[in-house]
């Protein structure tokens, strides 16, 4: 409980910072003036530009962190995450197909639906493979293949797009960014993220039992097939709709659960909420960072930052788990 309060406090501090930082930096006085609406221009910046961006960082970071924790609990492995299961790339592919064919605009509710469908397909395929007691190596390889396939499909869609500006737009959006998002984006993603997060949270206790292995979990009354379906659905809803409004933001789902796991005594059921809060904090921090780093032209994309930090982190994790991977052939 104390941990959740601490992480919640951290998220709140970063959120306040995220609201204060931008092209115009708010001083404490200006911040108060903006919040109270006594300065109309500042209030406009705060409520129409920075608040949706900050809310999306919290929602999406939380969705990714919690999804990562749920997937890791389900497959009993700290190397699992939505990205490694190809969920963001597949979600992006479906969204891009929709946009590049002109079937839907960038603010259509069809986008999160397409993203969710893509994520559902990739996570479903991966977990169907995992269900047969596949070692993690098989899962990771299958995830790499799915991600590459989805990425190739996305490139193809951009390639074939008749409008070069549309292609450029799609490419930038795929890099993962929270820039220039409005409340419309928040409403597009929030309902799906909330439902997905709730679906996963209700399975917390079963995830703890899964740590004893599938056979024991079944004997203890866990309906493993149902659990798997609910987690797939939860991850697809949360990650698919996140990608639909922010593009692919990698590694939060891997890093966030890992950072807080020792603080909850490695218990998968207690991990979900802290991992979500840690994910929200990480994405807020990354999104603040992209606004602080000076660039000559386009500002940095937050998806690029999380990947730059996350990839070496993942490598470190693999190196640390190397012995365990070798020792437990079943991995």
């Amino acid at each position: 409980m104390g941990l959740n309060v601490a992480l919640g406090g951290l998220t709140a501090c970063l959120a306040a910072l995220s609201l204060a930082i931008g092209t115009t930096w708010f001083s404490p006085d200006q911040f108060i003036a903006a919040v109270l609406g006594s300065d109309e221009r500042l209030a406009l910046i705060l409520y129409q530009i920075r608040l949706p961006r900050t809310l999306l960082a919290i929602l999406i970071g939380g969705a990714l962190g919690l999804s990562g924790a749920a997937l890791q609990g389900l497959v009993r492995n700290p190397l699992a995450s939505p990205s490694l299961f190809g969920a963001p790339s597949a979600a992006a592919l479906c969204a891009v197909i929709l946009i590049s064919t002109g079937a839907a605009g960038a603010l259509s509710f069809m986008l999160p639906i397409a993203g969710i469908t893509g994520a559902l397909l990739s996570v479903g395929v991966l977990l169907a493979i995992a269900g047969k007691d596949a070692p993690i190596v098989v899962l990771l390889l299958a995830g790499v293949v799915l991600s590459s396939f989805a990425a190739a499909g996305t490139s193809l869609a951009i390639n074939l797009s008749s409008n070069p500006f549309a292609a450029l737009e799609v490419a930038f959006w795929l890099l993962g960014s929270l820039e220039d998002r409005s409340f419309q984006h928040v409403w597009m993603a929030a309902p799906f993220i909330v439902v997905g997060v709730l679906l996963m949270s209700f399975q917390a206790r079963a995830l703890s039992v899964m740590s004893l292995g599938e056979e024991t979990a079944k004997s203890l009354g866990v309906d493993v097939v149902r659990l798997r379906i609910l987690i797939i659905l939860g991850v697809a809803l949360a990650v698919g709709s996140s990608v639909a409004v922010a593009g692919t933001i990698g590694f939060i789902g891997l890093v966030a659960p890992h950072l807080v796991r020792p603080l909850v005594a490695y218990d998968p059921s207690r991990l979900l909420v802290p991992a979500g809060l840690a994910g929200a904090s990480l994405l807020l921090a990354a999104d603040i960072l992209v606004r602080l780093v000076p660039t000559s032209g386009e500002p940095l994309k937050v998806g690029v930052v999380t990947a730059l930090v996350g990839a070496p982190f993942f490598l470190g994790l693999v190196l640390r788990e190397r012995h365990a991977l070798a020792a437990r052939g079943a991995w």
Binding site: A204, S208, S211, G213, E215, T216, K218, S219, A265, S269
Partner: protein, 247 residues
């Protein structure tokens, strides 16, 4: 087909040992009893069919210790044992004080397997024998009417083997029905009230150790040379045929 026309009954308050050569269907029989595999025929608990029972209720009444338990995370010993309370609802590591009677059962399980001193240790730092004791304590924490254990003695040294069998026999004497799949016929003869000898998916013999471990039955099932010896069993001294070499 792994099992064919197998019919057997298990009593509460007894330790039943299921023995037989590799591939005889011992583990499958346990999984049928739990309703974990599809099967024709019927497994009953009292008057109820196990396969159609609510899975939480079944989990509360029959606990299962599968072969080769692995652990995904370095949970504490107590947290692992506490997972045995899952089918009863409420008490998990997330809500350790949800049920006081659950806590009493957990303490008792830890105490019976001499794990009190290890309760805060990470499960992954324990030796094989200690891990098996934790796994058994987890199964005891379910506090069901029956406990089915699949080769709990595998890869344990003799001292730990005796320790586990003593714990199971003591638990049976407290009223639980214990069913153990095992390979060590001498230990089975010593600790079991009742034995079932499976071979090629069928029940070759069923009864007390001296009724089951006869010279011809053991020779037929295992294709070994045997020697008849006296052992100190649960029903007093009895003579059983034990393997001494390849036939």
């Amino acid at each position: 087909m792994l099992l064919n026309k197998v019919s057997c009954t298990f009593q509460q308050g007894e330790l039943t040992a299921i023995v037989g050569p590799n591939g005889a269907g011992k583990s499958t029989l346990l999984r049928v009893l739990l309703g974990l595999v599809r099967h024709s025929g019927e497994a009953r608990l009292g008057s109820e069919t196990v396969a159609t029972m609510n899975i939480k209720e079944r989990a509360r009444r029959i606990s299962y210790l599968p072969q080769g338990q692995t652990h995904a995370w370095p949970l504490s010993v107590e947290a692992v044992v506490r997972l045995g309370r899952y089918p009863h609802g409420g008490s998990t590591p997330a809500a350790p004080n949800a049920s006081e009677s659950g806590d009493a059962v957990i303490d008792q399980a830890l105490e019976r397997l001499d794990l009190i001193g290890l309760r805060d240790r990470s499960i992954l730092t324990l030796s094989g024998g200690e891990q098996m004791r934790v796994a058994l304590a987890r199964a005891l924490a379910v506090d069901g009417e029956f406990l089915l254990a699949d080769e709990p003695l595998a890869s344990l040294d003799p001292r730990y083997q005796f320790q586990i069998m003593e714990a199971l026999a003591a638990d049976a004497s407290h009223g639980r029905g214990i069913v153990v799949v095992m390979h060590d016929l001498a230990l089975a003869a010593r600790y079991a009230h009742h034995m079932i000898l499976l071979a090629h998916g069928k029940v070759l013999r069923s009864g007390t150790p001296s009724e089951v471990l006869t010279e011809d039955a053991v020779v037929e099932a295992f294709a070994v040379k045997v020697q008849t010896v006296e052992v100190d069993g649960q029903n007093g001294a009895c003579s059983v045929a034990l393997p001494v070499g390849v036939a």
